[in-house]
């Protein structure tokens, strides 16, 4: 029983991170019909920037903020310089470009920051709370993880629901041509969309890294989990991405806890294939018809 509770709690905090990562994928997919396979590598890169700052004596929070700002800039630059020419073109070309960025960022990080494992600090304790006589797998850092993901989601929801900028961004995502006719600077909105998505991705990178080891490939599996979560949620809906993230986190935590951690990525593959074949529009759609 205690094991089950711990695995569940662990799954929830991992799931929150996958939810953030999936949300970042969905933001870009909705606006540009591109899956940013480089998102994990970009997040890894900004996390290393944070680590460099922290190791040079700055506080965790300076590193944290710097990584998010770096994500914002990186996302905008990537969209403006590299992705813009392939937007709206053959989908294979865009996929290949994001994969090229993936490889390039990973190699660049290994050159600049080293290819070895380095430990990344956590701003809060990593010892579980005690309930009665048990220590549960829920730490002050888990609270921070879930809290910061919640804050980001609420902030994004508020942006999209209640601001003019958010309305323009959503309009650009749904119909570029009509938005242009209504005077919306669609190009800027797409750049902003990639920038915000990269901030959310960077947050996911920082949270995965907290209290763990980082190396240039540490986000590889997270891309897969985030993708699975996004597809579970139907790829179009931010809310679906969040739910998909939590489900993925829980499912993979059970697989890891009861079957073996080596099988986690394969289980993710299994979930992905099952969803794509049975409910291609995601778990929460009313219609089950779509070409994937």
């Amino acid at each position: 029983m205690q094991q089950f509770v711990n695995i569940t709690l662990n799954g929830l905090s991992q799931g929150a991170i996958y939810a953030a990562f999936a949300l970042a994928l969905v933001l870009i997919w909705r606006a540009t019909r591109i899956i940013n396979f480089a998102q994990g590598a970009m997040a890894m890169f900004t996390t290393y920037l944070a680590l460099t700052l922290i190791e040079s004596g700055q506080s965790y929070w300076v590193g944290f903020a710097a990584a998010l700002v770096a994500g914002l800039v990186l996302g905008a630059l990537v969209e403006r310089i590299v992705m813009r020419p392939v937007e709206g073109g053959p989908e294979l070309n865009a996929v290949i470009v994001t994969l090229g960025l993936f490889v390039a960022f990973q190699a660049l990080a290994a050159i600049l920051f080293g290819a070895t494992f380095q430990s990344f600090p956590a701003p809060f304790g990593l010892r579980g709370f005690t309930v009665g006589e048990f220590t549960i797998a829920f730490t002050p850092f888990s609270v921070f993880v879930i809290g910061s993901v919640l804050v980001v989601m609420l902030a994004l929801t508020a942006l999209f629901r209640f601001t003019d900028l958010g309305l323009r961004m959503r309009a650009s995502a749904f119909s570029q041509e009509v938005s242009r006719l209504l005077g919306v600077r669609v190009g800027r909105m797409l750049t902003l969309g990639w920038a915000f998505a990269a901030v959310v991705g960077s947050l996911a990178g920082l949270l995965i890294a907290g209290g763990n080891l980082v190396h240039p490939a540490y986000m590889d599996a997270v891309i897969v989990y985030g993708f699975v979560a996004a597809v579970l949620g139907g790829l179009e809906s931010p809310g679906g991405a969040v739910a998909g993230g939590l489900i993925t986190g829980l499912a993979l935590s059970y697989v890891s806890g009861y079957l073996g951690s080596e099988l986690v990525t394969l289980a993710a593959l299994g979930i992905l294939v099952a969803v794509l074949l049975v409910r291609p529009r995601g778990l929460f759609s009313r219609v089950a018809e779509r070409r994937v």
Partner: protein, 244 residues
């Protein structure tokens, strides 16, 4: 020669899709307070004309002037901000957004333009004009009927305080009764607000009933230009190009 505000002047406009000439040296002038109809069969180049004016089709020759300001080759965003509102064929409702969000997009553009002396329109006046929209303001726009969608896009265009309104086949897919109401509304708007309307229609009879002037396009060329009454009265022309 200083052009009055709101005059849309199209001079020698030519556009091609690959080897096909879609527009061939088209000259059209549309004036404030008047409905200018552009008529012709399917494939005559009417939609291309509007898309070229609003900057969606690039690489055309010739010039597009709004009140003397040269908008040739400008981006669609810039042209919209200059005061040309294009209501595209198929209506251009953003179906994933709510009715009110669609309208707010028009309002945002209007606010951005107001500094330049655009006429002010408020959401309330649009809801007053189209009560059906107010009832559904929080619904997603894909729940609207064809007629309601047409009201939505016209309301949205008005909120952007345009000098020129480009309407592409507004009657398409609407019941005759709705079409009559719609055209009466357009006429009324022009008379009250003094905006310039360029109305592209296949339904030539209805269009000419509210238009002041008309141009007939065939295979990308202007084959006739006259006031609406004399176009409607020209039997040969009607048989050859207008189908009524």
């Amino acid at each position: 020669m200083a052009e009055p505000r709101g005059t849309l002047d199209i001079r020698g406009l030519s556009a091609r899709y690959g080897p096909v000439t879609a527009l061939d040296a088209v000259d059209i002038t549309a004036s404030p307070g008047r409905v200018t109809a552009v008529l012709g069969a399917n494939g005559a180049g009417k939609t291309t004309l509007l898309r070229t004016i609003s900057g969606l089709v690039k690489g055309a020759d010739g010039s597009v002037l709004l009140g003397g300001r040269d908008l040739t080759g400008a981006s669609a965003e810039t042209i919209a901000r200059a005061g040309i509102a294009h209501v595209p064929e198929g209506r251009g409702v953003i179906t994933e957004l709510t009715v009110e969000e669609n309208l707010r997009l028009g309002e945002l553009l209007g606010t951005a333009r107001r500094g330049k002396g655009g006429r002010e329109h408020r959401l309330d006046t649009v809801y007053e004009m189209f009560p059906a929209l107010e009832q559904r303001r929080r619904r997603e726009a894909n729940s609207l009927s064809g007629g309601e969608r047409q009201m939505l896009v016209i309301g949205r265009a008005l909120l952007s305080a345009p000098e020129v309104l480009l309407l592409d086949e507004p009657s398409l897919g609407l019941a005759p009764r709705i079409v009559a109401q719609l055209f009466a509304l357009i006429r009324d708007l022009v008379d009250r607000e003094g905006i310039t309307v360029l109305l592209v229609e296949q339904n030539a009879r209805s269009a000419l009933s509210i238009a002041d002037t008309g141009f007939v396009l065939n295979l990308g060329r202007v084959v006739a230009a006259a006031d609406a009454a004399s176009l409607a009265g020209d039997a040969d022309l009607r048989h050859a190009y207008l189908g009524f």
